[in-house]
């Protein structure tokens, strides 16, 4: 088990339970207590959690397992700045009166933050995004039916019948787990299926993915690259993939980051 895997595990656990104890993590990861304390310290530096005696808790509003911001506000597993830049660029592609679809994802959540001045119809299967749009924007919100899953705040349903079969969108903005020559990739089959269902209601598909998404892995293909109209990413995207996409006729937009601050070294 490597560093990143442990971090992912810790953050997942944290989202599920709201609080983690070092001892539990030791049994869960097999790592030593010292290592886990170091992990927690680094994650705290990144603002992804808050340490408490005996473990750590979610960084946001204490106590209340507030789904909204707790899931994303500070828990951007990867570079939040790039995602925000991508989200802004994607938001600029929207016009009042549009009908759009946003799937559940951290990048789409950032994008929802950028839509406060818009007046659109938005279909989303993300509970936090729905709350953000309803509470802080003038957009109309449509939700699919299904079970609301606690950890990521996603609405999923195994059935075909749904009110969203009457929804027709011009654009779907999709945040994904990875994007490879095989297509747009998710890690979970249920999520992949939900996104495919949403996609069937949209004319154009705009994938929003910061450059880290080009290296990540996954196993479930949501759709082939031929279905993609546009990709919005940042300057760190590998040139060969950009060329490959453009060769397929996919429009590739590069979002300009406001300030480049690499935080790897500390």
């Amino acid at each position: 088990m490597h560093e990143r895997e442990r971090w992912q595990l810790i953050l997942n656990r944290l989202r599920e339970r709201g609080i983690v104890r070092v001892n539990d993590l030791a049994g869960l990861t097999g790592a030593s207590l010292a290592t886990l304390r170091r992990d927690l310290a680094r994650l705290e530096d990144q603002g992804q959690l808050r340490r408490v005696h005996g473990g750590a808790e979610t960084a946001e509003v204490s106590g209340q397992g507030d789904l909204t911001a707790a899931s994303f506000g500070a828990s951007q597993t990867t570079n939040a700045e790039a995602k925000l830049a991508v989200a802004r660029k994607a938001a600029s592609l929207c016009s009042d009166g549009d009908s759009i679809i946003l799937n559940a994802g951290s990048t789409t959540w950032f994008m929802a933050q950028c839509l406060r001045q818009h007046r659109m119809q938005v279909l989303t299967n993300s509970f936090p995004i729905a709350q953000e749009l309803i509470a802080n924007s003038g957009n109309r919100v449509v939700l699919p039916g299904g079970e609301l899953y606690r950890e990521p705040g996603i609405i999923l349903s195994p059935f075909e019948e749904d009110a969203i079969q009457h929804f027709a969108a011009g654009k779907m903005f999709m945040s994904c787990y990875a994007i490879t020559p095989m297509g747009v990739i998710e890690s979970d089959p249920l999520i992949a299926r939900a996104e495919a269902k949403l996609l069937s209601r949209a004319e154009k598909l705009i994938v929003i993915a910061d450059s880290s998404k080009f290296e990540a892995r996954g196993n479930m293909v949501v759709c082939p690259l031929a279905r993609v109209s546009t990709v919005v990413t940042d300057a760190g995207a590998p040139a060969d993939m950009v060329d490959h996409l453009r060769g397929l006729g996919v429009e590739v937009l590069i979002a300009e980051a406001e300030r480049e601050t690499k935080l790897s070294a500390a």
Copy 2:
């Protein structure tokens, strides 16, 4: 059980009951009296509660600015105490493993507050109730598809197709605009239709209505009284309506007000 878990438990209990006693908490948490007193002291420092001899009581409404509490927590237009008593009584009719339906309404929202310890499947068309259940309870939540309306946080859809057509519930708890000899009444046709759709997925119908609901008016009949299995109300319900309901074979439960009857202004 560690510090934060105890705090969570204490605050949850406090929100449910309005007052907690140290002895009760000792039996509940297994912690010693000294520890619990320390906990209460720290929580009081944070303004989360107010200490009284023997325990602690709620400090005030901790406004989260969210849709959740903002819609109901402090804006109970009518008698909140009666609604809370009714909600508690209704919650006592639920058992772990049940599948229930909650429509959107202030009384059902109070009821959701009382379900934090339950483990059920809950279908609701209320966004605030869904958020409450997901954030603060272990219940599974299922949502119908449709448009999310901002003001009351209700999900409505004019279409028949919906994933909830696969939901089967033993009981539906319905909060309504009024209850008259004509049946269960709503004021808005769209809401009435949504509730009728939910009702079609439930075996028994339990109407939860504080006594003020027997005088109010409305125009849309959701269902006739014959469809009602049980009515949960408070001691202020008019005797003739109670008799009428019982004559129809409807079970009528009267919720007892907690302790103090602060009928300052009737």
